[in-house]
């Protein structure tokens, strides 16, 4: 694995990615979009919210919505566990939290290793994935943060 990365590093710019698990799969987002990673704290439910928005939490005075990635991908809600974490990320000026099972690594991946998403799968899930790459035994999916929250809610922000 190490060798493979080094070989390809000559080929392109590297991206630093935070990798995590949700709904039994591996995902990652660009490290520059991550502001902090914090433990699970109870969220306040929002009325009329999409099912994947579990609510809002208080992040040092800001009200931040939490997206359950598992539900967002069309799977059931995340199993409650001590290891669950919220990845606080910034999309443009908007701050949101992504609820995931666990963060497992920080990866440095050359641009060239990231492939386009093959044209299969559920529309809902695929639209979220910006690209995929192989990391050892796993296939890791790169999340398109812009599409995490539905468009009309973002425009209202």
């Amino acid at each position: 694995m190490q060798q493979q990365l080094e070989q390809e590093s000559a080929g392109g710019r590297h991206r630093e990615l935070v990798a995590f698990r949700a709904a039994g799969q591996d995902f990652c987002i660009d490290i520059m979009a991550v502001r902090e990673i914090r433990g699970w704290s109870p969220a306040t439910s929002l009325p009329h919210a999409p099912d994947f928005v579990c609510g809002v939490i208080n992040l040092r005075g800001s009200v931040v919505p939490i997206v359950d990635l598992s539900v967002r991908l069309g799977k059931g809600p995340l199993q409650q566990s001590e290891r669950n974490v919220i990845i606080i990320s910034i999309i443009d000026t908007q701050v949101i939290g992504i609820l995931v099972e666990a963060v497992f690594d920080i990866l440095s991946v050359p641009e060239s290793a990231i492939q386009e998403t093959p044209d299969v799968g559920k529309e809902k899930a695929r639209s979220l994935i910006d690209g995929i790459f192989t990391e050892g035994e796993r296939m890791v999916r790169l999340i398109d943060l812009d599409k995490l929250l539905p468009q009309q809610e973002k425009s209202a922000a």
Partner: protein, 733 residues
Amino acid sequence: MANGNDLLDTFYQECEDLLVAMDEGLRELSEGESDPETINAIFRAVHSIKGGAGAFDLTELVRFSHRFETLLDELRAGRMTAEEDLIEVLQFSGDHLGDLVTAARNGEESDTEATERNLGLINKFLGPEKSSDEEVEIEFEPVSFDFDLGLATGGAGRHAITFRPTRDVYQLGHEPFRILRELAELGTLEVTLDASEVPTLDDLDPEENYLSWSILLETESSDQAIQEVFEFVDGLCTLEIRPEGDAAEGAALDTTPFDLAAGSGVSAATTVEPVPAPVEVAAAPEAPVVSEPTGSEPAPPPAAAEAAQAADARDKQGKQKAKGSNASIRVDLERVDKLVNVVGELVIHQAMLFQALENMRLSSGSELATGLDELSQLSREIQESVMAIRAQQIKPLFQRMFRIVREAGAATGKKAVLETAGEMTEVDTAVIEKLADPLTHMIRNAVDHGLEAPDKRVQIGKAETGTIRLSAAHRSGRVAITIADDGAGINRPKVKSIAIEKGLIPADADLTDAEIDNLLFLPGFSTASEVSALSGRGVGMDVVKNAIQSLGGRVTISSRPNEGTSFLVSLPLTLAVLDGMVVEVAGHPMVIPITAIVETLKPPKQDFHGLDSSDWVLSVRGTYVPVVDVGAALGFRTAKDDPTNSVVIIIEDEESSRTALLVDGIQDQRQVVIKSLEENYGHIDGVAAATVFGDGRVALILDPSSLVEQISRVGDPSNGTRIAMEERHAATA
């Protein structure tokens, strides 16, 4: 020009202040106050704008403000009197100057047509613009100096100046030394003090000025530049500026230890150099001697002058206070907002500490508890002070409305004056900003729809000129703004027929007067059939209402036939905190703004009456009030079959219609810090904002009116007209 320029930004900020000062002066003038200080204040404001505009090459602004200034100068010099038509032109010019500044600031094309039109008006008083005057003024280019213009005798660049300040110069805190120092920057200066008029100590009035100065200035600057040095003591001194050739005749120069011949030789050598031409080129030939006659008086000895100055400085301070311009600093709003946020956090954390302490079950007398008590008092005090920083007088906003009334009157052919009261009322800056548009619209409406035409007013025995009264006051923790006209009042039959025509209400609707008045707020009410020069912009009263509601405000309307209509806008003092009642809904704590709540009750079972399977009404002292189950409305649970184990909160909306909200319990009443939900998420119907409780959890602040509206959108419109109206309202919203 790029707006990133700091200097330019400062210029525009100053322009804002200057325009306010100008408007205020113009208004005083229009109210018949024509004392010289008022005119001077307007003149200074316009002049300063011109000066700044020149530095930034804003040619149109310079050209216009120059003509405007010239007109003001005529008025100031007493060559014109402030008649009504002149004042009108001055007001239009002031408005246009504001437009030009705004256009320049936004980098937009200015309305040159309007400029020409306005200059035309000014020219009616001044005569046509002199072309040379214009050219020189706009370009600010060095123009080679033509010495045949009457300045020939002494050679260019040498000026003899006699400067004799009156006591007012000191009273207003001016300092001759600074003026002399500024002159020295223009060139070589030779100053002679004439103390000959200083009387003996016995006869000396310490507040009087007995001193005058003779100055010989050798400079490449123009007459204009020299005059500008004296700008701020203009009218407060006797000033003579002469080309040096004439100066030999001046009595003041007799004492000058200056070699005239040698001086002439030097300046003669410099004559070929281009010199910025003076503004008053055209005037110069006839009047090479510029003199501002004001009562001149003899001078005190220096010590007395100093004492007088100190006294005058105090006077000046007092005067400034009276004018309302206290010492102040400009602070970026962002910095204040940051402070507000941090203080909000402080309050939350202090509440957390408090809660933690309670959980430890310490005795209330313990050191920790008393310390924390004091801390909470202090933090509350800090919070209030910080809020006070954000507060601003509503005056600038009100002043803008004078123009709106003027323009609306001109556009509709109606005569209207604006009267304001409570201008010093302080409101949160953000509220003021967001209030500008709705208020403008309401004022326009008042002139356009509220007032009758002048001839009609005369017919029915009213004064020809209608009055719009705009007032602000603090009322029980809110700001109340009233916009009242003395017009015909709402034509209720007409309003009703329009509403029926537009399908806003059923043809057979039986409405009370108040309900008819409130039809004005329905979306789609104001349309093309009543377009005049002013309305028909597609902005109706519904937009006004929405804008005010989004500020957490309410607007109510009242009208009496032939006596007029008045709108009462009630706004929160600040957008940062709110007094709320904490209730529990389906296990979630929520906040209902206290201002919306009329009463809370726990009614007995027999007071609830089912309408159908899920809709209820509650009988409260003989009237039936629709019941809204908050938990169901927010989608947290299905509607309750049995409302009797709930607590009822009666709320009242802008139309004074009441609704009973069902909640599971009342927990507390407290002040909460308002946090935006929109910033990171988006708007939720029925929810105004969020807040953070002492335990760090987020709670939602309900927006009762929108909650009720939302219910009636899906509800059954069987509950009389009111709900039917609301449903349509909501459907079109």
